[in-house]
Symmetry: none
Subunit: 214 residues, 4 copies
DNA sequence: AGATAAACGAGACGGTACGTCACGTCTTAGG
DNA sequence: CCTAAGACGTGACGTACCGTCTCGTTTATCT
């Protein structure tokens, strides 16, 4: 789950310091409220899209106060991005390098492709994308998630392939990610349509062809 | 220039009807006003982005009344899309089939790539895309333009190549367009950044490799 | 009725100028809306008092928008004062100097005393007073009204009496008004109670005694 | 000092009951905190007036928690009234009946008149009055104080004068107090201005004249 | 010396209202 | 009949406070 980081500065770092634990007092962030807001925000995206995304409505549906929302999320856009990213599996399983490279790459786009298969999922993801494109902070959150969950794993995979000579020498991680995801955004954003069911193989093929050596 | 078609009633159809010359009287649409609105809308996109796009502000800056805007454009999104698309050259010159295929494909993306090279252009195009993604009508306008100026020309080119055997038999126009444009959207929308200057060749190459026969 | 003056600058002044009529175009202020707001504001005062006076509620009850309220009144306090002062008879009839001085003075406080006789009236007037005391602009409006409808008439009356020798030479209009009205505010504000029914004579007597010559 | 009575239910009543001594344990009310809150509340009144009086701000400035404030004062209005009344001298010295009656009456209004001479004092007192007028409980507190420190002493004085025949037979304590204080409220509330420096004599004179026999 | 309980600072929470902004519609007067 | 100007009802914005509540810490008194 990606959020505005409010972590209480890593207590274990100085926990064994003699006495200097200057810990917060007072009530803690309410988990129930947080979850209700995230769910309501996701629903809001599916029902009203990004342009008509209303924090008032999210607050009402989550039985939360607007103040609570603005306390933990910098903007409506951040909330929208967070709500959608949070629905994806927390951590992609690190895959052994013996697995077929096609499958390993496919695993990076599969969760997203599954999510946008349904109408609601497509609406929500389109909304999150638009929010991330509208708002600087939300963009940061999205790109941070994208870097961690996509770019870094993909870089590992391709670096291995490069060692084997299966990838041209001047391969570029940016080119690779945009070949994998660009087509999805095209369908989702520019064409405003659903993303077809059988699509994974096509994307992986395009990528592998484009960066094949020779 | 793409606009909400309000050209009603094709005057020549019933002009010579027996006495139906119920022709419009009064002043015609003011060209000056139209242009001022389009310019103001473009500026609005570059300065405020799509989320904060304000028709009130456009009207004020264009010294036009809101009524005038709503008379000729169905929504703010339509206006935004129209304002941006209108800045592209009216008609791509139909190119002889003798020209190199790389250059002919490049000509389809070149105007867009040139436009988004500047910060303002990137903001404006990003805004137009978001508007088209937000709003059904605006999406139609965008896709109509895209079909006419990109998809049809590209289809012609690829069909010719297919005849020469330079393109695999199962080539698909949708796959082709999304390979050409997807990466641009990825940079513009998902990464919220500028699009690099030397990019055309890379896109054309990716496409040709992906649809190369064999 | 006392309001933020938006009078269209006295058109008859330059109406007969040859051509320079730079008149406003566009819709005029809606009388219906104005009245509905004033009524709702008065009711709001009687039902919730000044501290809990809510512009949102006034707007809702008047079926008006908050924008409309803020367009014509500088603040909630100004609206509250205006709503209450507007319920008093527009102009006190100018009275002949032959009428008994007691009655002429009584006529200055009678409308107010009648108004605060009922519970609602007392609540409303208390609210208006508090609003005028809270807010600078609202205070101006109240004092302007007070000057015009009370101080000036009272000064005339007392000046006449002074000529007859019925009033001491060093009479002071401020002293006079505060002797007449101070007791009312004491009852209304400090004691938070109603103002007794038979009260006029007492106030007039106190005043006349205090400024009697000798 | 006038406060919401939170006396711990008269312990001596049942203290010697057989085993009912369920006495309080734990820390007592913190005097430092109480004073800090009262000072902060007074400052808040002088700086923001009553309408914008904020308990949050008082708590922050007093380095107290809101809980502590709400534990000891029923409402913001009560706190405001308490903070202002607390600044007046605790007990007016009971004056011998040989002192001149003018001076004895003057002593009842002098502390207030001195307090409102400064800008801050006038703001604070205006605020306290408005708070007392807005809120029922705060009004009670104010009127209780007023009864004890003004009405009762004044009644004694006037009763003595009545015995001497210096006051008309139908004198009324309410009339007397409102003649003494009404003018002050008029200046403070209705005119929103300062109260002039030389004023005491005028008020006492008005009162004595109004209730003089004959 | 515990154990118990209240007071305290801090501050999160569900709410209500604020005053502003923008929406899309409607009204007026001028050309 | 188009246009500029702009008032209107609607509704969302992001902020400020409200009064209640939950924390963990700090006293004070009672076992």
């Amino acid at each position: 789950m990606v959020e505005n980081e409010v972590l209480p500065d890593d207590p274990e770092v100085d926990a064994d310091a003699e006495e200097g634990d200057r810990r917060r007092v007072g009530p803690k962030r309410s988990e129930a409220s947080t979850n209700a807001v995230l769910v309501a925000a996701y629903t809001e995206l599916t029902e009203h899209g990004w342009r008509s995304f209303s924090v008032d409505r999210v607050a009402k549906n989550a039985k939360a106060s607007k103040q609570t929302i603005y306390r933990w999320w910098k903007s409506a856009a951040c909330l929208a991005v967070d709500a959608v990213l949070g629905t994806l599996s927390e951590k992609p399983v690190a895959q052994a390098s013996t697995v077929d490279v096609r499958d390993r790459i496919a695993a990076l786009i599969e969760p997203l492709l599954v999510a946008v298969r349904t109408g609601d999922g497509a609406h929500a993801w389109r909304g999150a994308l638009l929010a991330a494109a509208d708002d600087g902070e939300a963009g940061e959150i999205f790109r941070a998630w994208f870097g961690e969950h996509v770019k870094i794993p993909l870089r590992h995979i391709l670096a291995e392939q490069a060692l084997k000579g299966a990838v041209r020498r001047d391969w570029d991680i940016d080119l690779a990610t945009e070949l994998l995801f660009g087509p999805i955004w095209h369908r989702l954003i520019a064409m405003r349509g659903p993303v077809p069911e059988v699509y994974t193989r096509r994307l992986v093929d395009s990528l592998l062809k484009a960066i094949a050596p020779g």
